[in-house]
């Protein structure tokens, strides 16, 4: 094999593997492969053609998405819905180095990105999605905040004794984060306002840099009102 004049890049590799593929009869494998092709035909147009490379394997397909981690995650999320049609997919995503290798027969994509995505897919259960820390970081870089939906699940060691922090998808995580932010904000605001109020109440001689400097002259005391004339009164009885 010879290396082609292709740029080695870091890309998000989404590996879709049909769950329990090896244990199914060959006729069913053929049916599932056809279903997987249909799923790809439906979903791939969402990723711009100039940013995706599609790789084929036996019972698995990988899509290397260039410079667009959010699109890779969206693609994987939509592919998970194939479970409703009876196609269970174990999906692994990694953001890692890949390189196109060419020979006379075919072109191949090689690199840690493919291998790690494969490890992630192998760790995924039925209709599950597993991602690496690298992909989470890439997602955070491309779309800050989107990475909060990826929550740590397990630590995984592969055959090469490399250990990965594996992340899973949790759609409720952003909501929980938002609530946490609101709670922190509310508590902080309450505490700060309480401190400010207590300062006002208990330290009247506190420095007031923003207080007005205009000295207000004391108003002249009002003249005592003239004694009112003794009102006429009726007396009942003796004086």
């Amino acid at each position: 094999m010879t290396e082609a004049e292709h740029l080695p890049v870091l890309s998000s590799v989404v590996l879709l593997r049909i769950c329990d593929y090896a244990r199914r009869p060959v006729a069913e494998q053929a049916r599932l492969n056809a279903q997987l092709d249909t799923v790809l035909a439906l979903l791939l147009p969402d990723i711009p053609a100039r940013t995706r490379l599609v790789l084929a394997g036996n019972g698995s397909v990988a899509v290397a998405v260039l410079d667009n981690a959010p699109a890779a995650l969206a693609f994987a999320e939509r592919a998970l819905h194939a479970y409703d049609a009876g196609l269970g997919l174990c999906i692994g995503i990694d953001h890692g180095p890949v390189e196109v290798l060419s020979n006379a027969a075919s072109e191949e994509l090689a690199g840690d990105g493919v291998a790690t995505a494969s490890v992630m897919a192998a760790s995924a259960t039925d209709a599950g999605l597993r991602m690496t820390q690298n992909f989470r970081t890439a997602l955070a870089q491309m779309s800050p905040g989107a990475e909060t939906a990826l929550v740590p699940t397990v630590n995984l060691s592969d055959a090469g004794l490399r250990t990965y922090q594996v992340y899973g998808l949790d759609h409720l995580a952003p909501r929980r984060r938002r609530r946490l932010f609101m709670l922190i904000t509310a508590i902080t605001a309450c505490v700060l306002l309480a401190i400010a109020t207590s300062l006002r109440l208990w330290m009247p001689d506190r420095p007031r840099p923003f207080a007005s400097e205009v000295v207000v002259s004391k108003p002249a005391p009002h003249p005592a009102p003239p004694p009112a004339e003794r009102p006429f009164r009726f007396f009942y009885g003796k004086h």
Partner: protein
């Protein structure tokens, strides 16, 4: 190995030498008691006493197990014994062609290759049911008989040969090419090791090239353990999808991913034969028509024989040699187009050079404030609280 000319071994009268191998010699011999001609396979038990004892016990144990097997696809063993440090096995004399010779002659038609594999798988399934694992399935151990029948040979001595290999590292590379990954790494063997070996044979029959190759024994074994071969249809497009799946399942690196039983493979291969039947009939029909119209039948037959193989075996060899770790790559799909992205990688613009090779890192505070709405609201709320509280306290 016998170096002197033998006239008699046991009760068998040796007539001629049929062939020689690393383990011994095969003779054509006559059995005067039953008045029949047999093939007599001799195996040198070695000069070292300990080694000889080990070979002896294993040989007889295996030979007994193999002699119990009686199946049309398995060679029949008539007798076995030992004489003058030479173990021998009398078996039926086959008049046919070895599959390796047939493969060397030219490509095997698809349906014929599947039919051969189906018969071998059935023979193996029968042997496995009887507790015998062959361990050395390869084209040299499969004989093609007239009328499309197939026989598996060398049952009972495969284990001896494997053991012999361990002492002759680097001197003989024939068998390792057909070993299973667990066999090449010295793992525990079961019937699925034969299924893998049969998968290799079927792959080579379908594609016409060698699957696992290498410059040295270590290289071959490494490729056996790690190289993920492309589906046969990539090399020979007429291979059906179903057949692709059968081959790839038999060639799975993990035994658990392979067929659990050779009977399952037999069933799938029969389905493949059914799938291929219409095409075969059509091709036969068209061949007959063309033969009737244009040329004599003999010439038409010659034409089918001299078809050139569509696969250059050296391509596969180069691919194996260059890949240090073949588990890290996948082939580009032919069903879905990746041309635009490939072009982008082939001639990247300066922006791509910068963007596609950058290592991801966590976004900075400013970027997060600008793009993360929740975080921005949080930060804004905090700042607002501080400002309000400050105003309240200091005004």
């Amino acid at each position: 190995m016998a170096s002197t000319k033998l006239d008699k071994l046991g009760r068998y009268l040796i007539e001629a030498e049929l062939g020689r191998g690393a383990m011994g010699v095969v003779y054509r011999a006559h059995d005067p008691v039953l008045d029949r001609t047999v093939a007599l396979k001799t195996i040198a038990l070695g000069e070292d006493a300990q080694e000889r004892e080990e070979y002896h016990s294993r040989f007889f144990q295996e030979a007994k197990a193999a002699a119990r097997l009686n199946h049309p696809a398995l060679i029949t063993i008539y007798d076995f014994g030992e004489e003058n440090a030479l173990a021998y096995m009398a078996m039926e004399l086959l008049k046919g062609t070895e599959l390796s010779e047939r493969m060397a002659q030219g490509p095997i038609p698809l349906h014929e290759a599947v039919a051969i594999a189906e018969q071998v798988a059935e023979g193996l399934a029968f042997a496995h049911d009887n507790g015998v694992i062959h361990r050395d399935i390869k084209p040299g151990n499969i004989t093609l008989l007239p009328r499309g029948r197939v026989k598996i040979m060398d049952f009972g001595i495969a284990r001896l040969k494997t053991s012999e290999l361990k002492t002759q590292l680097g001197t003989r590379l024939g068998t390792p090419k057909y070993m299973s990954p667990e066999q090449s790494t010295g793992g525990t063997l079961d019937n699925r090791t034969d299924i893998f070996s049969l998968g290799i044979v079927l792959y080579e029959m379908l594609t016409g090239g060698k699957l696992f190759h290498g410059d040295s024994l270590t290289h071959v074994l490494h490729n056996v353990a790690t190289f993920e071969p492309p589906p046969p249809s990539r090399i020979k497009p007429e291979v059906t999808h179903l057949l692709d799946l059968v081959v790839m399942r038999a060639l799975a690196k993990k035994p658990a991913d392979r067929y659990a039983s050779a009977w399952e493979m037999v069933d799938d291969l029969r389905n493949c034969l059914q799938e291929l039947a219409p095409a075969v009939l059509a091709s036969q029909g068209s061949a007959e028509i063309s033969a009737q119209k244009d040329v004599p039948a003999g010439e038409a037959t010659d034409k089918t024989v001299i078809l050139k193989p569509q696969f250059d075996g050296t391509v596969s060899v180069r691919r194996v040699s260059a890949d240090a770790d073949t588990s890290k790559h996948m082939t580009l799909s032919r069903r879905f187009d990746s041309t635009e992205a490939l072009n982008r990688l082939q001639s990247p613009n300066p922006r791509d050079l910068q963007r596609l090779a950058r290592v991801p890192k966590a976004p900075g505070m400013l970027r997060r404030l600008l793009h993360d709405r929740d975080f921005a609201w949080f930060a804004f709320s905090l700042i607002l609280s501080v400002v309000l509280a400050g105003a309240l306290a200091l005004s």
